[in-house]
Structures are given as structure tokens and as C-alpha cells.
Subunit: 357 residues, 2 copies
């Protein structure tokens, strides 16, 4: 295993879309939302250990989740849990990890990945990432991993690529544009055109390339995290981060770097990826009964019910009758019953509860 | 208050129709099912205290519920909690209470009432029962209280009365027949004919009249409870009952006495009575929101939902979206979601759970 290989896991999300299973106190990445016996971050960590040693895996998360990370990840190194003092976006998060890695190892290459996605074909994932790491170590490029789309999904951003390959690597293409989530018609056009991929939010690059990209496109942030090199892996690191993090611009890496740089290439891949962004997407990864009900919970009885997603505590006695196309979720004493087609309203429910509607 | 007035509260039911709120371990009569701050048996006891002193109120219940009675009813006298060792029907239950009362006070008059019904007009109830008690003390009759029907309800039995009054009391009529729960068409005919009343299951009679009726119509039971007079209010009472109760015939007082006797009269009344036999009937006694939802629970949020009955623990956070015409009940960790129109299936669910379906 190449000791220059690093992984950065972004684990600061507070995912409200899976409320009430996922809450700010225990967000999605720390849950075994698929009932596999592993939480999503445990899956992610274990998967990345096939690419680099545990001591090269960094996790960027909110301060409040440090203990959860330690509880769930036996092999994580404490100094590798980077604690954000406040919610920013992905650009400061990636910068912190990238500059810290660069200060440790100027020859580092890294993959940046979310903590709460699912990948069903791990071997193919490992092959793709290793391929990308080799490319990024030899070329001053910013690689993003694009997923070959299997349907006109309106829940994902898309990456349009050009004809231009990365030297002899014809498969790896220069990126033309990043797009926001499209409407249904546009998504169909994207799919038909054949030159769009899903934006997985996974990046591969050398520490050198990304730090230089910050210098070019987000100079303020570059200055902050470059100065931080005096403090990384010292007892003053947290103090420094607590001071500078809140003044960082709230901007995504997509918007702040990827859309601006002309060194961005996309690696098209197919490794059974999903961002598990909705109950609907979750459902495609769960076993269904003969009436297309996806049930997590050992004591759930269904009568005249179909097309439901049920996720309740293991030993909770639940009887459902006459429900078609609903989400029924109970977690920590909170119950949600909601039509699947209206799941986008869940964020509103959480807002209403917080604001004492 | 007339010291010859007694009340017998029948509280042995294990009501499964309101599962999971009502369970064998805590049946309906011991629940504050309307959210009024009083359980149904507490309401019943308090109501009957307007008719007779607490020391004249007897409760016949299952052995297992004795403690619940004592916990819920501060003023109940311990010797007045009559414990059935096993589930029988109403004839043995009433006999036990009637013979025990007769042994204490040969001049006693009594009202027999269920513990889990609701009466919204208490003053009128008190007036009717006092009227009945006066009539039963002066006449060797078995009085039943009939409710003037307000709709062709198919959930109740009906009492057909004749033209014949009780001497000068023209309102009180001799009973022609007791009927089972009718179908919709028959119920409409009953209502149209004007000589049918709902069978409330409430009876008024003198201890003398009812004990003699047992002698005439249920002689075996008469013998058993007449012999019991040697043991009532002694330390051997329970032992005797435990021995003889199981050999009593499993028969209702309606079938065993009321349908056979020619001394049965009905007192027509209107005091806002319901047997609360179904979630639907319960609903008519609960406050509805602007979307006709009946909600018990302080933290229930409803979106795009109407015509539901929601009964959940006070502080449970519940969000319901897109539900129309459902029963949503949670009790002691068990959740039921069921279409209102299918509530008759609830007994089946309970059966399936018991038998590990």
C-alpha cells in the first residue's frame, strides 16, 4: 500500500432528510441505516482502508461528532479527526485536511469522499481510486469521480465532459461544466446526450495540486490554512482552527474550485454508488417483501399494505394496516408517518418542530 | 342518600377492541381513553357516588385487576371489590354481587352498570337511576335502562317495548324482546318503528327481586350464591368463590334472566350514553380539529391529514403527513396504524400477535 496515499472523509453533515432516524445528535453517517451491521461511516472507513493505511485516513467532522467517530472507528487515529468548530461548507473542510496532509507529506495524494454514501461494488471502487491516485500523482490535475448514470435522476448534480482526454488516458475527460440538480426533462436530455455523469462528490488529487488550486482560486482560504502549517499536529492546532474556521467563506469546493479551475478532469466509473439522499434511494438498497415493503424491524406486521418503507426499533411491536406508499419511521421515541412522494417535506417538519410550530 | 341504594360496577372486561391502548394487562375501563383526566372506571365510580354512598358501591372484576381498582379508586372499600377467579359472563358476576348485597341488606336496591361506558349528562343519569330505584323498591320488577336511539346504530343490541306500562308509570314499559346487534336495514326499521331502544346493559332492581329471579331461571347459580351467604364478608369468601365460580355456567344475564322473565320493564332515557365500543364511537366524544382529526397527545403535528384518530403518549413527538381516515395509536411501545373503516380487524391483529403469526 502506497504510503503517499491519503483519504479524507467528510463527516460533518447533520442530515435532516432522514429525520427522525437521522438527527443533529446522531446524523445519517453514524447510523446503520441499511441494517447491515455497519454504520455508513464504518463502511466508508473500512472501504478506504483498502486504499491507504488507517493512519493516513483523516476525518473532517463537527466538534460534536468527535466522540461518535472514536466510538465507531476503532482504528482511527485521534489526531486524524479534524474538528470543525462551526458548520461551513466543503471548501474550508477540504482545505483544512489538504493543508494538514501537505504539511505532513508534500508527496501525498488523496481521495476526498463523503462519509454517508453507499458503494456496492467495493473492488471496482478500489480499482478506480487507485487508478486515479496514480494519475494524480503524475499529473497536476484535479480529478473528480463521475458515475455513469443509470436513470434520469433529478436528485443528483451532473458533470458534462468534453472529448479531451488526459494525455493517453482516453477514458479520463476534461470537464466542461458542473450542473445543479436538473428537472426531469433536462435530466432525460443529459442521459440521452451521453456526455453527462452523476457528480459523486468524490475527488482525487495530489496535496500539491489542491493546495495550489486554493492559492489560485480561494486565496484567503489558502492563506489561512497555509499559515496553519505552524500548528498542525501540535497542541495549538484546535485553538488555531477554532479561531480561523469561522471566518472562512461558506462555499462549496465545487463552486469555489472545481467550476473555476481549468485542470479538472472526470473519471467515469460504475461501482454501485448512491448518496442515499432520500428514503426512495435507500429503498433500492433494502430487501423488499412480496408487497414491495422495505422493513427494518423484527416485530412489524403488515396487513393490506404495500410499497412502504418501515424503519422502527428492532423489538418494537408495530401493526400497520391499509398503508400504501408510506414512510413509517420511529427513532428515539419520535414517530413519522409520511407519504413517500412527499418526503421532500420532511425538512419542513424538522424546521417546524425546531421552531415550535 | 338512601342507605338501601347500592351500585354494582362490572369491571372484568379485557377489551381488545381498543388495542394497543387497551390490553389484558390494562383494559379500557382503567384508561383515561378520552383524555379527560379520569379513567372510565373513575368516572363511573364518581357518577354512582351521586346515587349511593361509596361503601355501597361494589365492583366485580377479575382477580388480576383488584390492585388497579384500589389504585384508581381512593374511596372504594376493599371488601366491595369482588374478585372473579376466571372469566365468566355477566350472569355469575351479577349473581355474586346481588347475593352478597342481599346477605348484607335484604332491603337493598341496586343499579348494575358497566365500568367502561360514558355518560355525558350526569344529572339526567342520576335522576333516571333514582327514579328506577324508587320503582324497583316498590315493585317486584327487573328494570333495564333503554336509551332513546339517535341513529340506526348496528353496534348495539335493541330492546323492543310493548304498550303496557308499569301501573301508573306510563313511561316505563314492559319489554317485548331483546335483540342482538341488527344489520343496517333492520336497525333502520327499529328506528322507524319507534318502539325500540338501545340496550345499555344497565339494570335496576331490588336484591330480593333479582335473587328470586335467579331462583326461577338459573337455579344452579341461585344455589351456589345462596350457599355463599355463609361466607360473604368472612375470610373464607374468596376461597368459596374460587371454588364455585369456575363451575358456574358461562351465560349472560340478558340471556339467562332478562329474556326469560316476565317481570322485565324498560325505562327509556337520554343521558348521552355510549358504550365506547369502537374507535369510531370514541371519536364522537373527542374534540376535533378543523380537519376532523381527534388527537390525544401534546406533540402531534399533522400535515395534509384529516378524519384521523390519534392517541399517543402525551410527550411523544409524532409527525403525520398524508393520512386520511386512519387510527394511529401508540401505547406501551406498541404502534398501530389502521384504517378507521377496518377497525374490526384489530381483534385479529391481537390474535395474530398472541399466536406468533
Amino acid at each position: 500500500m502506497n504510503k503517499n496515499n491519503y483519504a479524507v472523509i467528510m463527516a460533518g453533515g447533520i442530515g435532516s432528510r432522514f429525520w427522525p432516524i437521522s438527527k443533529a445528535s446522531l446524523p445519517k453517517q453514524f447510523l446503520d441505516i441499511l441494517g447491515t451491521g455497519e454504520t455508513l461511516i464504518q463502511q466508508t472507513f473500512r472501504r478506504l482502508q483498502k486504499i491507504c493505511p488507517a493512519e493516513n485516513i483523516l476525518i473532517v467532522t463537527n466538534k460534536n461528532y468527535k466522540i461518535l467517530c472514536q466510538q465507531q472507528l476503532d482504528e482511527v487515529v485521534e489526531k486524524n479527526i479534524l474538528c470543525e468548530p462551526s458548520m461551513r461548507n466543503t471548501a474550508p473542510c477540504v482545505a483544512y485536511a489538504a493543508f494538514k496532509i501537505h504539511s505532513e507529506n508534500p508527496d501525498a495524494n488523496m481521495i476526498v469522499a463523503a462519509s454517508d454514501h453507499i458503494i456496492t461494488k467495493e473492488d471496482e471502487f478500489v480499482r478506480v481510486v487507485n487508478d486515479c491516485l496514480v494519475l494524480s500523482s503524475a499529473n497536476d490535475v484535479l480529478l473528480t469521480i463521475g458515475i455513469n448514470p443509470s436513470r434520469p435522476d433529478t436528485g443528483y448534480g451532473y458533470i458534462q465532459f468534453t472529448e479531451e482526454g488526459l494525455f493517453k488516458h482516453k477514458k479520463v475527460r476534461k470537464v466542461k461544466t458542473f450542473t445543479e440538480k436538473p428537472n426531469q426533462e433536462l435530466a432525460l436530455n443529459f442521459l440521452d446526450s451521453g456526455d453527462f455523469l452523476w457528480n459523486s462528490g468524490m475527488f482525487v488529487w495530489s496535496a500539491k495540486s489542491i493546495t495550489l488550486a486554493y492559492r489560485k482560486h480561494l486565496y484567503d482560504m489558502y492563506t489561512i490554512f497555509e499559515e496553519g502549517k505552524a500548528f498542525y499536529n501540535t497542541e495549538k492546532e484546535q485553538e488555531y482552527i477554532d479561531r480561523v474556521f469561522p471566518i472562512c467563506k461558506n462555499i462549496s469546493i465545487d463552486y469555489g474550485i472545481m467550476e473555476k479551475s481549468d485542470m479538472v478532469y472526470v473519471y467515469p466509473a460504475s461501482f454501485g454508488w448512491s448518496d442515499l439522499g432520500t428514503w426512495g434511494s435507500l429503498c433500492t438498497h433494502l430487501d423488499l417483501d412480496e408487497n414491495k415493503n422495505a422493513v427494518i424491524g423484527n416485530k412489524v406486521m403488515l396487513y393490506d399494505s404495500s410499497d412502504n418503507i418501515v424503519n422502527v426499533p428492532k423489538n418494537k411491536q408495530v401493526v400497520l394496516q391499509g398503508l400504501i406508499g408510506y414512510i413509517v419511521v420511529e427513532s428515539e421515541g419520535t414517530l413519522l408517518v409520511c407519504k413517500k412522494e412527499d418526503e421532500q417535506q420532511i425538512k419542513q417538519f424538522v424546521y417546524d418542530i425546531k421552531h415550535g410550530k
